[in-house]
């Protein structure tokens, strides 16, 4: 087993290089093609993306070729299917978008693969399976499909199975609907492998994977009077090992950890993570930028990471009063908050992810930049997902944003950043240094190259 090596690359350790890019090159991007979620499965052999058009595309890693260093198993399309369709809620006169908000893989249980995909309202369980045999031989038809004379049947034929070209099928196995009044922002499979939770703006529901007609509401923060609403749920996740623990983050920058053992309704949290605000940096935008857009437990289950607009924080589950690590993602935007508010960018929901050994973290920024932080060395790096250096195995050059003063060579000034190119969704292979980065309608895959 390859132990995942730590680090974010860029130093003496290793370098990130380009591996593949998926999606059209056209400048005109169809709204439906914009990638809205990226997720590796538990082994990393499969990679799923969802898009605004309600489609799910699954990539499979090819078997590694003999020359391991040159070709390290590219990801190729394995299956594509329409997961969600646009709908209309006639009772509430609301359009329901087909956009895939989240994909979560289930642990593999037999030769088939299973994933959950969710749009704003409905969660579906999909089975992706292979078929390589086909039945042949009919009694009432001959090989060309012509009907036989029914009076000429003298013997019975039992069909036989013959090998055929591999066919990958995606079939919907369960549909979990009608449990969310607001928009679903998270789904997370419990470590008991039989339940999962789904969270919307105000409520969290607990489902059994085999039961679609009921779910249990475990958190409900809806005030009796909606005018008193001050806070919404922005993300939720189950602990990777402790089946009774889950966390949810809020628009106020706080995280609540709940224990499902204590009571059926988790209205009362058992831990409350909040960093006291620095009064000196208080501004009109403080509350908006402190809103947490993503929360992820480390694989070990000891830490969790939260992403707010300008930073990523790592929390020790045993310490509620402040994060153990804070990384600035794009601090140079602090002076730009006013224009980012005007163009709505300030409400962008950036996600974050851990590498397989929890030693590094990755999250996105603007201008197709994404950031990595090495937790041990505290080194950080900015990389760009761009077609320009998309030659096979081309090394990724670290990028630098000029933060005032004179612009050095190779630096980019804050004013020339393209805020329409944002990297919201990224995923890190659970065991290796392979990352998938969604840039609008393109999916970039990068790998490490050992020096």
């Amino acid at each position: 087993v390859n132990a995942p090596r730590g680090g974010v690359g860029g130093g003496n350790d290793f370098q990130w290089c380009f591996s593949q890019v998926k999606g059209a090159i056209d400048e005109d991007v169809a709204e439906a093609d914009i990638i809205s979620t990226v997720e590796f499965n538990c082994s990393g052999e499969l990679l799923a993306t969802g898009d605004k058009g309600g489609r799910v595309v699954i990539f499979q890693r090819e078997q590694e070729s003999k020359n391991r260093l040159l070709s390290r198993g590219e990801y190729n399309v394995y299956s594509t299917f329409q997961s969600h369709e646009p709908e209309f809620d006639y009772l509430k006169s609301l359009e329901i978008e087909e956009k895939i908000n989240k994909i979560r893989w289930l642990p593999q249980q037999n030769a088939a693969h299973f994933l959950l995909s969710a749009n704003d309202k409905t969660i579906k369980l999909w089975k992706i399976s292979e078929r390589d045999k086909r039945a042949e031989g009919y009694n009432l038809k001959d090989e060309d499909g012509r009907l036989r004379d029914q009076f000429r049947i003298t013997t019975l034929r039992v069909p036989v199975l013959m090998p055929m070209d591999l066919m990958v099928e995606a079939s919907p196995r369960r549909i979990f609907a009608n449990a969310h009044t607001y928009h679903i922002n998270s789904i997370s499979v419990n470590s008991d492998y039989e339940t999962y939770l789904s969270a919307d703006d105000l409520r969290i529901n607990l489902w059994h994977l085999e039961i679609t007609d009921r779910s249990f509401n475990i958190v409900d923060i809806k005030p009796a009077n909606m005018e008193e609403l001050t806070e919404v749920i922005t993300a939720a996740e189950c602990h990777p090992h402790q089946c009774n623990v889950f966390v949810y983050s809020s628009s106020k920058g706080t995280i609540r950890l709940c224990d499902t053992r204590a009571a059926a309704l988790c209205d009362r949290h058992s831990k409350f993570f909040e960093e006291p605000e620095d009064p000196s940096s208080r501004s009109f935008f403080s509350e908006i930028i402190s809103s947490i857009s993503d929360v992820k437990f480390s694989h070990s289950g000891r830490y969790m990471m939260t992403r707010d607009y300008l930073s990523v924080k790592v929390w020790d589950l045993n310490m509620e009063n402040r994060p153990v690590e804070t990384y600035q993602v794009h601090e140079y935007l602090r002076s730009k908050l006013c224009s980012l508010y005007e163009n709505d960018c300030i409400f962008d929901k950036f996600e974050c992810c851990w590498n397989g050994s929890d030693s590094a973290i990755m999250t996105g920024s603007y201008n197709n930049f994404f950031r990595m932080f090495d937790r041990n060395t505290r080194r950080d790096i900015t990389l760009e997902a761009s077609r320009e250096n998309s030659k096979p195995r081309a090394m990724l050059k670290p990028r630098k944003v000029c933060t005032g003063g004179k612009r050095k060579k190779d630096e980019i000034s804050v004013d020339s950043l393209d805020f329409n190119k944002k990297i919201l969704h990224t995923a890190w292979h659970p065991k290796e240094n392979v990352i998938a980065v969604a840039a609008t309608n393109n999916l970039y895959i990068f790998q490490d190259k050992i020096n």
Partner: protein, 593 residues
């Protein structure tokens, strides 16, 4: 005959079978399902040899199909022994069932396991070791947890019939699965632990099973621990009394105080079984305090589950100390639950609390229970009141219902007028029971008017239930009572300006004619029905036709010919299509044409 001429050597009985075989692969799921359900017909036509060599291999790979088809297949194969040539060849059924036992769909897997268990009994002891047991081992060491979960259900059927070496292997496999990496397999093992323990020799129960039980009961996953509770109950029934205290009780005590409410809920839910399994002494010393704690649990779900068991627990207490235990230990907790903050807890209690009166006898009931009943009858939650009312019969036997009637009446009236129609519906359904308990006098005086008021409720479901209720009341109190009290009121509604109420008259007549008998129907009801055949609303008129059809069998033939027939004929020439239709239908059903 034609077919015989067309092909001298063809057999026309083959055609339907050929269709069935082809439809095993039809695009339409229903047709595939239909073919699978007739698999025995196909096998019979093929004969045992071809079934074994052609049909079963084909079915073994047919695991891509829809769940319902696979489920049907798994079930069919459990009854296939004769079709493959009898017990001698029964092992031919193992490959298709083995592949079905690995699919992801639990219902299909469970059915495959059920069929495997069934056909295991048809294996000879030799075949069991040569064919069946290796299959169990393969499943138990499969790569995917689906196959390992299926294996858990098969150990207990082979164990009693194999040699002691194989027995040791089976025990080892079971042990391995109990500490599987995935919680799914540990859950499957935990849920089969009790069953497996039953077939093991006592020495192995004490050595192997107890340690597995202890381990599963302290698993890190709540969902595993809660299944261990049930296994604990089964294991307790197998052990001699003197071993229970040391081998099982520490674990069960720990489960009753588990950190997770779901585990405690499970303990509460299985409490009666547990009580029977451990016997009177342990009940007195251990279970009574445990039960008290569950009744006072901080989680409402647990309290509700425990409240549900109050009556059964008390009933099963050892007779010599039953009353003392209830009075000193249980009743104080029950009293607190009556004013619980959670309505599910109160309503669970209300559904069983009346049963305590038979156990405690008249004096205790009057002194201690009656105040609780009265409090619950005044509870703010309608479900609590309904549950009390629905169980009145228990109290009636012990102290007579008069003691309660003072409080009962306001409670009933309030429920009868509840704003939620489902609550009104529920109380209507208890009316016949109440009428029986309270007697005709009390009923006429207090409840009759309610029953009539429901007939004009604005919700159809209530009016319908009210109609049905009248019929049941007449069954209880007799036709004469009906004629004097309800029939005049029902018939009076025939003149109501609201056509819905006029129709209610007809619906009541439909329901009452048979229980009231021919005389009342002919003399009192029929004239009203006839009169309504001239109603200006077509819905009323066609309901007249339907009513006549309904009450026809109660009338004598003379009346049918001379009175009913002309009215139906007139309706059959009505302008309205529906009136015509139902009149004609009535004429034909009553054979009046």
């Amino acid at each position: 005959a034609t077919s015989k001429m067309a092909g001298a050597d063809s057999d026309d009985s083959l055609y339907p079978i050929a269709v069935l075989i082809d439809e095993l692969r039809n695009e339409d799921v229903q047709l595939r399902l239909n073919s699978i359900k007739k698999l025995s017909t196909i096998a019979l036509a093929l004969g045992v040899e071809r079934t074994r060599t052609e049909l079963l291999p084909f079915l073994t790979d047919t695991i891509y199909d829809e769940d319902e088809v696979l489920l049907a297949l798994a079930e069919q194969l459990g009854n296939f022994t004769m079709l493959v040539g009898g017990p001698e060849y029964v092992h031919c059924l193992l490959p298709p069932l083995e592949s079905l036992a690995t699919v992801e769909e639990t219902v299909v897997r469970d059915k495959a396991v059920e069929s495997l268990r069934k056909i295991s009994h048809e294996h000879s002891p030799v075949d069991l070791e040569v064919h069946f047991e290796p299959l169990v081992k393969r499943l138990a060491s499969g790569d995917w947890f689906t196959s390992r979960t299926s294996a858990c259900g098969l150990f207990s059927v082979c164990y009693p019939r194999v040699s002691s070496t194989v027995k040791a292997e089976i025990r080892q496999h079971f042990r391995t699965l109990c500490s599987d990496d995935t919680p799914m397999v540990r859950r499957a093992a935990a849920s089969k632990l009790g069953e497996f323990a039953k077939v093991l020799e006592l020495e192995y129960v004490k050595s192997d099973i107890i340690s597995l039980f202890t381990a599963l009961a302290s698993d890190e996953q709540d969902s595993v621990r809660l299944l261990a509770v049930e296994a604990g109950v089964s294991i307790a029934t197998l052990l001699p009394q003197e071993d229970l205290e040391t081998l099982v009780m520490p674990t069960l005590r720990q489960a009753a105080e588990d950190k997770s409410w779901r585990v405690r809920y499970m303990v509460a839910d299985k409490f009666s079984d547990l009580q029977k399994a451990v016997g009177p002494e342990i009940t007195k010393n251990d279970l009574v305090p445990a039960f008290q704690n569950l009744l006072k649990d901080c989680e409402a779900e647990v309290r509700a589950a425990a409240a549900n068991k109050v009556k059964e627990f008390c009933e099963n207490l050892p007779e010599d100390s039953r009353e003392t235990i209830i009075m000193t230990h249980i009743l104080p907790c029950v009293k607190e639950l009556v004013s619980d903050t959670n309505q599910h807890v109160k309503s669970a209690l209300a559904s069983v609390i009346m049963g305590l009166s038979t156990i405690l006898g008249k004096d205790n009931t009057v002194e201690h229970l009656l105040p609780l009943f009265l409090a619950q009858l005044k509870d703010e939650c309608p479900e609590v009141r309904l549950n009390i009312i629905s169980n009145l019969d228990c109290v009636n036997e012990v102290i007579g219902i008069r003691q309660l009637s003072q409080s009962l009446l306001p409670a009933i009236v309030e429920l009868a007028e509840d704003a939620k129609w489902r609550v009104r519906l529920a109380i209507i359904e208890y009316m016949p029971l109440l009428a029986g308990q309270l007697g005709v006098e009390f009923f006429d005086e207090k409840l009759n008017s309610l029953c009539m008021a429901w007939l004009v409720d604005h919700v159809y479901a209530i009016r319908e239930a009210a109609t049905c209720n009248l019929m049941k009341l007449v069954e209880k109190f007799g036709a004469e009572w009906a004629q004097n009290t309800i029939v005049p009121k029902v018939l009076g509604m025939a003149n109501d300006p609201n056509y819905l109420h006029r129709m209610t008259t007809l619906f009541c007549i439909n329901a009452l004619s048979e229980v009231c008998g021919q005389e009342i129907t002919t003399k009192h009801m029929l004239p009203v029905v006839f009169k309504m055949s001239n109603d200006q609303v077509a819905n009323v008129r066609f309901n007249v036709a339907k009513s006549l059809q309904k009450i026809g069998p109660v009338l004598d033939s003379n009346c049918l010919q001379t009175e009913v027939k002309p009215v139906l004929e007139k309706l059959a020439s009505d302008q309205d299509m529906d009136v015509k239709y139902f009149a004609q239908e009535a004429i034909s059903v009553l054979s009046l044409a």
